[in-house]
Symmetry: C2
Subunit: 202 residues, 2 copies
Amino acid sequence: MSDMTSAAEAPRSPGRPRSSRADEAIVEATLDLLAEGSTIEALSIEAIAARAGVGKATIYRRWPGKDALLLDALRRLKGVLPNPAGHSVRDDLVLLVGAVGHNIDPRAAKIMPCLVPEVNRSPDHFRLYQNIIAPRRQLMREVLRRGVRLGELRADLDIEVAMALLTGPMLMQRMLRWHPELDDVLLPDRIVDGVLDGIRAR
Amino acid sequence: MSDMTSAAEAPRSPGRPRSSRADEAIVEATLDLLAEGSTIEALSIEAIAARAGVGKATIYRRWPGKDALLLDALRRLKGVLPNPAGHSVRDDLVLLVGAVGHNIDPRAAKIMPCLVPEVNRSPDHFRLYQNIIAPRRQLMREVLRRGVRLGELRADLDIEVAMALLTGPMLMQRMLRWHPELDDVLLPDRIVDGVLDGIRAR
């Protein structure tokens, strides 16, 4: 699973040209600066250009602005979009829940938790965060809709609440090792089965 | 709901004397410094003492150290522990889920998101975070155990997974306005009913 592949998977910013060595250097410089503790607020196109050894114009030829570059760079941390097999709704949900908050790039462990205060401070960063997760959220929405259509999930299902139930616990666990006694490897199965079957006695 | 009450509700640090005007000034100074952007790492007993207008010895007479003071101060943000009525397991869970990530003190909106990076950086801050939430987590554990005992919840219920399903979505919503389309006021009922009944068609 190479970064090239993941970039190819992620929806591109409008007008972004085919990837190149310069693209790579710019995205890597962006992620390095964030992993070294730069806030999104403080991160400047100047600093990224200097770190990547390119001119600012080279960046602006490829991305309309900082947020578009950040979106490509932060999505890169997550790797390729998961690819549900489309047979069992349960198995597809386990795959997607297992991918929640998962990153292939070790820099994510330094970068992602630091986004929380920034997303709270700024509506722009809130939109950026929503855009980072949008493709994965859409994948899960489609699996849940398929489950309703096929009669595997309740006809009155509230898709947005169901997504929150499935992804919230996994995100908290990845972000904070929140319930230390839960086994992260088994957790996706346990979350999906818990949400499918419910906890009420029958 | 006064801060005094909330301090009285929260388990005290060992050897902490009865609350006093100096206690209040010290706790308020701690929360003010955090709300103004001081990290937990950077926060010093010296700075707290100076801000509170007391000597360091006054702080050390009341708290064994910085973490014990932080625990009292950060719990103070949350106010009194919720008090489940003990009639309906569902209603008690709605009350407890509604209290998840809820704070009575406006400084919490500045302080709490900034804990996420710090909890990730430091095992001490991770323990601090676990200690902040421990009393509320224990309350929910007791309600779930009661539900199993009374036969309202499945006999094979995994209490820790159930708590993660109930609290994860609410925490994410409070921390990040994560699913902007979800109504925070209705969310506790929808989370509890979703987790009780499950999403599988019957």
